[in-house]
Symmetry: C2
Subunit: 378 residues, 2 copies
């Protein structure tokens, strides 16, 4: 119940143990094609350029900025969370001029802030984080942000590492130009093959670069020689991890993407009801709540690191301490993919309550577990 890796379904673990074939073996190329088709379903996109990057979500993030940004271009990134900051670090490494769209940690970006940043800085690439793992904030109005970005003929990159497959996201309908994710959160596959999709228009920008991307490993034109029709060697494919990603995506398709979004809302809703009934509150306002990652404010008297250690040691439950600006202020409880089950949610609420109580924090543990249990029954 941490911020990922989430629990992996036994069918996916079994796929990981499948004997390996060559990365250009016809049977493996079929699996890659399956993965692409299933990723289009999960991303809600018809983008041809849809693939899995051979690395974690941060590799997919780097692929986004290393390819879309040329040295000297202005890149607008958000200030309201740890991973927005990481976007800025990466954009700077690849030669971008980084400016920030300001919002406090715990709040989403206001599209008006983006509009104002265009007036002032004329960015060519804008990054936003749909589900911010550090704050548990869900960024609304991606469609409105995309509209503004396109009005200025710029490109919108969206990070869905903590949300894809668990929280409603619609690449094409909302107009995102490049979207990436990780495999080990709401998709519940092991880390190592990270979904990425980009529009024809975004790929056109990549193809028309004046300079080569600064990364060879993450060069999207190179990656497409392998993931496109008539696959050629670029780098060795992530055989086992791609097997596992396919199986995890099949589980998403079997459940249905909308049913899966709904399950995350329901299970995380029960968790939220429990911690609130206990007397705690979540960092973001209700309308920006990210079901997959629940940032629970802890009272000043509580010790976040001791809480996470106790839950791990006494209850075998992983949750995470606060990150960046929120260190010591929140604990982060994931509710992702195969982990989002009643048998996980209720014990987590109970264990968190008991651990806070043991630290002398005034919480009504009984009311918390009762509220969670009630919600789970509905």
């Amino acid at each position: 119940m941490g911020p990922g890796p989430s629990d992996v379904h036994p069918r996916v673990l079994r796929a990981m143990a499948t004997p390996l074939v060559g990365y250009l073996d016809p049977s493996f190329v079929e699996i890659m094609t399956d993965v692409q088709e299933l990723l289009r379903y999960v991303f809600r996109t018809d983008n041809e350029y849809t693939l899995a990057v051979s690395g974690t979500g941060s590799a997919a993030m780097e692929a986004a900025f290393a390819n879309l940004v040329e040295p000297g271009e202005t890149v607008l990134v958000p200030s309201n969370g740890y991973f927005g900051g990481r976007m800025g670090e990466m954009a700077a490494r690849v030669g971008g001029e980084v400016v920030t769209a300001d919002a406090p940690w715990g709040e989403p970006l206001d599209p008006a802030t983006i509009e104002a940043a265009f007036d002032e800085h004329q960015p060519t690439v804008v990054g936003v984080v749909h589900g911010e793992t550090s704050t548990g904030v869900r960024q609304p109005e991606i469609d409105e942000i995309a509209r503004i970005v396109h009005e200025y003929d710029a490109y919108l990159v969206v990070d869905t590492v903590a949300s894809l497959g668990g929280v409603e996201f619609r690449t094409d309908e909302w107009g995102a130009d490049l979207v990436y994710s990780g495999s080990q959160k709401c998709l519940s596959a092991p880390p190592g093959a990270s979904p990425l999709t980009l529009s024809d228009r975004a790929m056109e920008k990549v193809r028309n670069r004046e300079t080569q991307p600064r990364s060879w490993y993450l060069d999207l034109e190179g990656l497409w020689t392998y993931w496109g029709d008539d696959p050629q060697y670029h780098h060795t494919g992530m055989t086992s991890t791609v097997y596992a990603l396919r199986e995890a995506l099949r589980l998403v398709a079997e459940e249905g993407i909308q049913a899966r979004w709904e399950r995350h809302r329901r299970l995380a809703g029960a968790l939220k009801a429990g911690v609130e009934a206990m007397g705690l509150e979540l960092l973001p306002a209700d309308e920006h709540w990210l079901p997959s990652l629940n940032a629970v404010r802890i009272p000043a008297a509580a010790d976040g690191d001791a809480l996470t250690s106790r839950l791990l040691e006494d209850d075998g439950i992983e949750i995470a301490a606060g990150l960046g600006d929120l260190a010591g202020e929140v604990v982060r409880v994931g509710c992702m993919g195969h982990s989002a089950r009643p048998a996980n949610v209720l014990p987590t609420v109970g264990a968190l309550g008991r651990a806070l109580d043991a630290q002398g924090v005034d919480v009504d543990v009984g009311a918390g577990v009762a509220a969670t249990n009630r919600e789970l029954g509905e």
Copy 2:
């Protein structure tokens, strides 16, 4: 029996199916420490800075050049194979001025060529490939090359993707400054966690850079915040792949590294004897033979792509066609890690012979399998 992924031992496949824990879970940190200790054994090094990069061998190659090379520095890379060329591409992407140490495909570099290149170009970083997957050439005299490189106060990077754990390599004794590998060749783990080690002196160069590395994902100082003492979050660790790498490295340690080198020589030696007895020859001279990758010259009458397809379809055996300059001129037969077994070698020789015979090439298949079988019995 291709150039990798090689067959993965059932114990390693089972490790892949282990349920996941958090990438900072104390039990996972213990596994990372095991991996580092076992990698030091396999690399024959006492280097503190020893870790697994979260990507394939090409990611480890990029980590080497992205960190050791600053924009404007001169980098010397070899011209005698596909992966030496890739070193050059990567060094150029990160801002290096690339010059080549010339040798034909199929031959190793002569240390005198390196010495001459220092006179002419004064490189600060020199890359060489210990086992060139495209040519099957083993680069000898790494120790002599290191001596020259150090005489000029430069740094030697060695690619052991196709050799580590299968062919003798001694990081410390030979004086290599940074060595990397892949997991899916002689180590027989799935791709995705790529071994890398560097000396204190090389890490000092990385720490004293005037500019940040152009890759955030592969920044060695960042990676060391995760792999060093008191691990902190950098990016999500490759949980399952690291489980598998540990198990694969344990198998190496149980066999003993010298016994493993010897097994590769013996099994690949039987393969080599078979193809030679059949009337074919290997591309490199005997003294530069790379047991883990056997580049077999095919007569002009043969069709390499059809050969590899037939072996895969009719015999379920993967071998690979020629790459780069050698397309159409060789087929490449791996003999790596868990694949290097009598039960694989003899059928491969037989199937290759039958497939050539079916293409009308004059080969003595009977003499080939007899020679392999005889060598396997010794």
